[in-house]
Symmetry: C2
Subunit: 231 residues, 2 copies
Amino acid sequence: MENVEKVTNCLQCKFQSNIFRFLSEEELSYVNDMRFEVSFKSGENIFKQGGPLTHIVCITSGMAKVFLEADDHSDIILRLMKPTELIGGPGFRTDNRHHFSAAAIVDTVACFIEVSVFEKLLNDNTRFALEMIAYLNRAHIGLYNKLLTNTHKHMSGRMAGTLLYLSEEVYESNVFETALSRQDLADMSSMTKESAIRVLKEFKDEGILNCYSSHFDIANKEALRKIYKIG
Amino acid sequence: MENVEKVTNCLQCKFQSNIFRFLSEEELSYVNDMRFEVSFKSGENIFKQGGPLTHIVCITSGMAKVFLEADDHSDIILRLMKPTELIGGPGFRTDNRHHFSAAAIVDTVACFIEVSVFEKLLNDNTRFALEMIAYLNRAHIGLYNKLLTNTHKHMSGRMAGTLLYLSEEVYESNVFETALSRQDLADMSSMTKESAIRVLKEFKDEGILNCYSSHFDIANKEALRKIYKIG
DNA sequence: CGCGAGCTTGACGTTGTTCAACTAGAGTGG
DNA sequence: CCACTCTAGTTGAACAACGTCAAGCTCGCG
C-alpha cells in the first residue's frame, strides 16, 4: 500500500463539515496513515448489506447511494453520500455487519478506515466520541422523517420530499443534472418506477417541475413544499 | 427533593440489561443522587414531541409507548419501553428537543436524569460512551427493519411483525394480556384501526391467533413468522 | 338503566401496483 | 451506414390493497 496511491490527504478534509474536524492534527495524521483509497466505477457496489463491517468508509469524490435491500429484491434508498461524508454503520460495535448497501452512482473514490482505528480515536478523544453520538442522533432524526413520510404520505408528497431533498441537501440548487435513474427516484420515494414517472408527469403538467431525461428544474418550490407538507 | 421519594435505587438497576451496567459503583451513586422519580397514570404523557429535551428518562416500573406524531394527528408507535430501558433521544447533543413523544400505557414510574449528568458520564467514562454508541446503533438497526416492514410489506405482514414483537420482545410469551388498544396495534403496524381489526380477524379465522379483547394467544407462531417474512 | 368509549362490520371509493405493450436512445457488429 | 439488440423510460388498462364512512355492537360504569 504505497502512499503515492492517495490522491487526497486527511489534513485537507479537516475543514469539511464532518466529525473529523474534532480530531487533533496528530490524530488526523494517524487516520491519514492508516487509511487507503479505492476507486469505484459508476454502478459498482462499495459494500454490501449483510457483509462484514471491517472498515468505515468516507467518500472523497463522486457520489454514492446508501440503500436497504429487501427480501423481494426491491430497494429503499436511505440517502446519497457526497464527498467527506462518512458512511459509518449501525453494525459498529454491535454485530460487525453491514445493515445497508452502498453503491457508486457516478465514478467515486472512497477512503477505507479500519474500525479498530475508529475505536482507538473514540477511546482517546472524548469530544470525538460525543460528536459521534451527535452524528448518530442526527441520522436518527432523518430516519424518523423518512418513516413518517413513507408511511403516512401519498405518492405526490413522497416524491415532493425526494425532490426537495435532492435540490436542497444534495445538489444545492433548483436546477440539477442527476445520475439517478427513474427507478432510483422511485426507490427514494417508496413507490414503483411507473408511479414515479406518473407523479413526475403530474408535477410537469402543473408547471411545478421541468424535467427531461436526467435534467431537473424545480419551477415552483413553494408548491412542492406545500405538497410535501400536506402529504 | 427528598431521598424518601425514591422507591428504587440505581445500584439495584446495575444488573439489569442496559448501558448503566458499564458505570462504576461510584458513578451509579452519582446518578442515583442526581435523578428523581415521577409517577404517571395510564395514558399520561411522559414527554412530548417538539418539547425541550432536558432530561433522559429511564422506566423503573410500568410500560410506555414511544411514538411519532404526524401533522395529521396520526401516530406511529416506534416501540414499547419496559423497566430499566432508557429513553434517550436523538435531540441529545443536537437540537435539545424531543423528536418523539412518550406516554404511559399502564401506571408507570420513571427516573429523570439531567442531560448534563449524562454528558459528564460520557466524558468521564469512555467505555460508557462506546456502549452508548452501540446502543444507538442497535436502535438504528431496529428503525431500518421498521422502515422495510412498513413500506414494503402488506398489512398482514406488518401486523404479524407487531404480534411477533409483542410476544418475543415485550411480553416474552405466546400468551399475553396487553394494555394496548386496537388503535395502538394499528399505530404499530402503520394501518387504520379498522384494517387492524380485519387482519386480526383473518388470523383468527386461519387459526393462527386467538384474541379476545385484551387477551392474545399466538397459536401458530411459525405461520406468523412466515407471513411476516413473505410480507 | 342509559351513556360513552372502544370495538366490529359492511359497502364503497381511492390509491397505487401489476402487467403488457410500446418508444427512444445508445452501443455493436456486419 | 444500416439493422439489431439492449436498456431505460413511458403509457394505458385491469386489478388489488387499503382507507373512509356510516352504522351497529359490547361492555364497563355512573
